[in-house]
């Protein structure tokens, strides 16, 4: 397993991350937390209003089980979570697949950018369906939610990437901190799907990975993200 410190800007990035951004990562027990869904790059991006057409699962998992994240259709923040008295909350958002058509060059550029191996356009136009699998830790120890592609925070600095319930080896996992996008950490997962990224620095972190598989003549991509805070926030 190799850890790289990448320094680059992503002004021309083709792919767009999607992540969950709560109003606070350390809510008081019993408090209600607004949860935003955001799409962007380098943790800069627009909120996405709640859309029933996109949501496959939008859940808050805690010690007492799972609840649906409630919210008003079309509104931002997309949902609200009641922080339990103990144990914190893992918020998860799993979207329905959305179709998109890209030029081959754009598709290949983003595939390369995301470090996905063995995938390339097979024609001038590429049809893809993309699925978002985002999680966020609100004062909680992570747990597996069962999303198709899922990042799970294990021991400090260790993350496991799971695809369809099995560890996914060889996938690039990237982590960076809000406000410091130039200091990216990345490594490929080992045979057991684990990757070690020694995150240093307080603030909000995003850990992400992309996996793309053939879907007939087209492609199906899965976008896993995990947000959490280190230190006070």
């Amino acid at each position: 397993m190799r850890t790289l410190a990448l320094i680059f800007t992503t002004l021309t990035a083709w792919s767009h991350d999607m992540w969950i951004e709560p109003a606070t990562f350390a809510p008081q027990p019993g408090s209600i937390v607004a949860v935003k869904l955001r799409v962007g790059q380098d943790l800069i991006g627009d909120p996405i209003p709640r859309s029933a057409a996109l949501i496959r699962e939008f859940i808050a998992a805690g010690a007492a089980g799972r609840k649906l994240v409630v919210g008003r259709e079309g509104s931002d923040p997309a949902g609200f979570v009641l922080q339990p008295a103990t144990g914190g909350t893992v918020v998860g958002y799993h979207s329905h697949p959305s179709p998109v058509e890209l030029d081959a060059a754009k598709f290949n550029a983003y595939v390369q950018e995301e470090g996905v191996r063995g995938v390339a356009a097979r024609g001038p136009k590429v049809r893809e369906r993309f699925t978002r699998c985002a999680k966020s830790l609100l004062g909680a120890t992570d747990q597996v939610l069962g999303f198709p592609l899922e990042l799970v925070a294990e021991a400090p600095g260790t993350y496991k990437l799971i695809y369809q319930t099995r560890p996914l080896p060889g996938a690039l996992v990237v982590a960076f901190r809000k406000g410091h996008p130039e200091e990216k950490l990345s490594a490929r997962t080992a045979a057991d799907g684990r990757v070690r990224l020694p995150l240093a620095g307080e603030g909000m972190w995003l850990v992400k990975a992309v996996h793309i598989v053939p879907d007939g003549e087209d492609w199906q991509s899965y976008w896993a993200s995990l947000t959490f805070a280190k230190g006070a926030r």
Partner: protein, 298 residues
Amino acid sequence: MRSLLLFLLALSAQAHEIGTTRVAVTFPEPGAYLIEIATDPEALKEKWQGGEAAFLARVDLRFDGVRATPSMRQEGGAIRLTGVLPAGAQTFTWKYGWTFASYGLTVGPNSVWLDGGETSAPIAVAAPAPGRWRVLGQYLVLGFTHILPLGWDHMLFILGLFLASSSLRSLLAQATLFTVAHSITLGLAMFNVFRLPAEIVEPAILLSIVYIFFERRAAAKRRLALVFGFGLLHGMGFASVLTELGLPRAEFVTALAGFNLGVEAAQLAVIGICYLGATQSANLPFINWRWAALRRAG
């Protein structure tokens, strides 16, 4: 209305997530352009952190292929880019790299759907201005459809008036007064004389509907005063819709009059439907009293 526009836009979108950014291009006076980028204030702050030059680096506005350098200012959750149109400019293209989702680009009455970082097709700078009758017709339709079928809140209010009226004469008097009242505030708001924020107007409109449905005991004069007051309120609601849609500067009064006429026509249509419904349902015991009262009065 906004949600309808978004829905229609979304139908043509390439299924990227739809974000909160909206971009509107207008030409407020000959030789000048104004581009308003509205977005979530918090997200805007993050994009703004690098300063003006960094922000503009991700904005690409070109007139006939030549990149423009607009002036910019930030106001709340919006950024306004302004500048002088190059002489003889025919078309422009727009690219905005600070959103990463799909967003609507509105140019006059037309909207296109773009992804973040995508360059628009060339758009005509000076589309031929529609004639006065065309503007009147367009805004008349907009006014009508804002009530029927989109304006369920206003329809409910009219229905409330209908159900609470003891005679056709009383109903028409109230409807007329409601029309006069909302015409006043709509006009005042559109001429920027007076307006209230939507956060106050919209809940107050809802309260007015609830009130008109349950208030049955008010004396005739007091009821007329109430309807007039509620009309003033609904006029401000119409104003916020019309502000979103925009009014052509060259035909401002024509468009305003057209919208108002459309609203009035729709109101009369709602009353007509109610009246027809009452007529057709005259034998039903629960509505018979209403029809009987109207027939006596009519």
